[in-house]
Chain length 321, copies 4
């Protein structure tokens, strides 16, 4: 029997992307899509790609479900959980950043939803804090080194698509401005730095700096990052570490060939490549910010918490072109 | 038990797109991928998105399969079938244009693979000529009028993505040239015109002109067309005709709201909208040229010919953004 | 001595593009940039490309100048001229559509600013109605046929960049939506149709229909149009007509080779190509919507009205790539 | 009287961009355009934007000119100069990388053509080695710190347009591949690193590392770079250093507001912004790779060497949108 699902904030990018994934998921059934601002509107009127895929009407009333996804603006999840009574039996997966640094909230304990390090904790979890998009891409690129205590100070540049900025109309999401353009934002103080360092520093036994500069790219989907680190290990041993670390991971691919961002767009994969020159290595990683960076990873976490195959509903045809 | 599948010309865009679709299809198993030029190479080395999705090695030897897709350059399928012996029991689906105008070839009779008009003939067919991409988009936009004998001369402009031009490197597929650019090609003499007129004139009882100008667009996937026709019927009656004509079609959506091309990218859908001013109507249609315009429709035809649900393996997550 | 120039509505796309052109024009000096909404702000704070090119501060006070450009929303120019007293000696060039169909206003008579037909009237004109962007591209493609009374009903599709939609934030100018997308708008009822027909019907001695469907393209600058018309004349004779009609035009190029939109981006040129099949011709034309389609043509008109060389300040380096 | 100019390799991107610039330059006249592979072809047949701008025919014969630009593949300039006799009076500007690291060649001494440090040497120079595109963007971002001996190890990511890869057809310049894509190349070993370090280390009195990872961007023109460096100086003092260093530079703009790449596209400007967090600074810089990064800077150098105003022929209308 299918599990019932509700989505809070279904009218945004990550909420609607969950609808796209769950509409074809064999083990769940979408029961309600909650949106305060668009209550009464069909989700397919907001996102016409969903016509004949999901024709649910957005509602401002919640009902009890087996699984609940929160797709709210950052810092809004706590308020929402304070104002709404959710059964202790409901699996809550929060896609915001409310519980990533501090998981304790009321009688719940949110597990950080990066399956590549917390798979065991996520099995049977009832509360999951889904990681940030850049946080996912950068951590997956750094974890094998951190685990071996080989990480030093990190210098990272990342570029993200316009969906990372949400659906609100802003000067930096105007097509005329963004087309053929690149720019930096939140230079050296992006909110994901703390989220990344919390995990990395718990593995690595010395404190590190993460110098991270995010760029806005002129594409809609995808994240590409390059991190430069001092490292004396030979490249083939580094590759061996990475391959071993991810040997059981369904969605992390280690490549010895040149990677490009588009190879993972519209999939839940993360692809990682490492290059070395003298005593420096550069680790490249790429994800789809809305999938492995948000809604895809949320479904992966849902699968794990329910004891299902990780890739259930996530065998997505790559866009490729 | 799964049916076995071979793909001839698997190294091209439509061939590799078939691999993406069939890798997750529940009723078939990819048995071999044939390529003369890339024999011995892993398909995922050509298309890195396929890594861990399909790791078959391209081969220049064929073996007998239940189903065979031909993804060869136009006019190469006949030669290939002359040179290779294929069992009469094998379902052959040709994605080229060799058998679209004339289906009789040796002891086979290729059915034109547009399920919206030939569904019955496609059931149990052993030979299918898969339609062209523009031909699909324009026919689906015109068929309901043709059937009612309401079609007059047609004035159509269509725009297509760079995947329509194939993977060969050409001046007009160079990024520097094509980015932010639009241009026309094969003006008023595109090879799909005859293919379209053959079907339309068989329904409509007077001969029509199709004045079609295709444009090159600065995107990789998708086709958008607008056709202008004289028509005295009221708009709501026209919509009623279209909805009735497509009432059993899994993949054609009739929209009374403004459509846009991206709403169907990475899906097998065709979406159609009609607008009217005085005695003229404009019919807009959009498809993904590699899916409903090629490999997706080929899978749909395979499903029909095998008596399976049409949408098996075609419940694709829309790209949306 | 340089002529003084004021720009009303300098904070928009066409106003700022005028600043870019006039900052380097040898015969004029920018005296003031008027903007109600951004008064007190440096123009280069709104458009950082203008830093060190033009550092004027937007003002809400006007002063008398030799030349005045109105870059206001459509229908706002009449109000503005009713509320502000402008000397009869001032050359007024209106970039809106207030005076294109009816040039008489108070004691002024606006000349339609298409130099390819009204060059003589524009010399010494004091009031000029600058044509619309699509109107310029389509008229230039049709005028030589109209003059010879060879025009029949016209079927035109045009595609335009996002700058055509202005700088306001709208769902259809959101990068996430528009990137890789195409859609139609104002199907068969664009406001430029009347503007075009007024000019064409005054040359052609029978009434015509213009069936025009504009599309939104995923680029920022440029317009490309294709018009299909019945025409029995041989192609070489048609080309001869076009070359003769434009033999004295500085900015119209007739090409017998395939044209593409980007070849004229960032220039004031219009490029036209003609193709023929049976008794139908397709005329392609391309302009930069902000230059020959707006601000560039306004400068060309200013040059003509002052008796200067038409290309003064308009020898623009093409973007090319 | 105008100086005569010849361009060797005029059929490539940087050669044709020189044609675009020099066609409107008041002090020079294009005398010949040399191309071995396209001899006999009109330059405007290769680049249709040049039609009616420059209609010279490419030739494989050279004649003596006052000024000669070499726009050859890297390492081809030495061969060419060995095989062709050029008068000692001719100003030679080489856009390749043959003379950037070692300027002595035969009886000539190539001055490194970065006017922001070698302005005096470039006056009256007869041989100029024009800098690389990334080399220009990164040096301009680092020079003021180097001069004050404040530079430490540098961590730089840069992204470049497809014109940086030249006009040859390659898999990574295929539109289908590059559209919406990002990837790294020449990771930590780009050929410009030595060029940059040579200049920086001559100013800074300690040896530095430059860890540079270039990315391919999905746009045609432009370079954006971010460099992270340890620096204890307060931000306002850093800005003061930069503004002082560039106070006489015509084409370097120091911005305290967020910069974006497109603000300098189609201009000869470099724009630089600095941000600081704790003891790290990030310096962003942007140029048009074909202008300040190649042909524009070559014209600037030509102007300086002839004692003309630096911006002669370089007052280019920004693309802006």
């Amino acid at each position: 029997m299918k599990k019932s699902v509700g989505i809070i904030g279904a009218n945004g990018y990550t909420g609607s992307e969950l609808v796209r994934l769950l509409a074809f998921h064999p083990n769940v059934e979408l029961k309600f899509l909650f949106s305060r601002s668009n209550s009464g509107v069909k989700i397919s009127d907001l996102y016409p790609d969903l016509e004949s895929v999901c024709d649910l009407v957005l509602t401002n009333e919640i009902s009890q479900t087996d699984i609940l996804f929160l797709c709210l603006p950052h810092k809004a999840s706590q308020n929402w959980l304070n104002e709404n009574l959710i059964s202790d039996d409901t699996l809550i997966i929060d896609l915001g950043n409310d519980f990533r640094l501090e998981g304790e909230f009321k009688n719940r304990n949110f597990i950080y939803g990066l399956p590549e390090i917390y798979f065991d904790e996520l099995r049977n979890a009832k509360s999951i804090a889904n990681p940030g998009c850049f946080a996912t891409a950068i951590q997956l690129a750094m974890l094998p080194l951190a685990k071996e205590n080989l990480l030093k100070d990190i210098y990272t540049t990342g570029i993200t698509g316009s969906t990372g900025a949400g659906q609100s109309l802003q000067p930096t999401t105007h097509f005329t401005w963004r087309n053929d353009n690149v720019s930096a934002y939140k230079t050296l103080n992006h909110q994901h730095v703390d989220e990344i360092l919390k995990q990395i520093n718990s593995l690595n036994n010395q404190e590190l700096e993460l110098n991270f500069v995010p760029w806005r790219g002129n594409f809609a989907r995808g994240i590409f990052t390059t991190s430069i680190i001092s490292c004396d290990l030979e490249l083939e041993k580094i590759y061996a570490l990475y391959k071993d670390f991810y040997k059981d991971s369904s969605f992390v691919k280690i490549s010895e060939k040149q990677i490009d961002m588009k190879q993972i767009v519209n999939t839940n994969f993360c692809v990682i490549q490492i290059e070395k020159q003298d005593n420096k290595i550069a680790v490249h990683s790429a994800i789809d910010n809305l999938l492995k960076g948000a809604s895809g990873q949320a479904v992966q976490n849902m699968n794990i918490a329910n004891g299902w195959e990780q890739n259930l509903g996530l065998n997505l045809k790559p866009l490729a072109f």
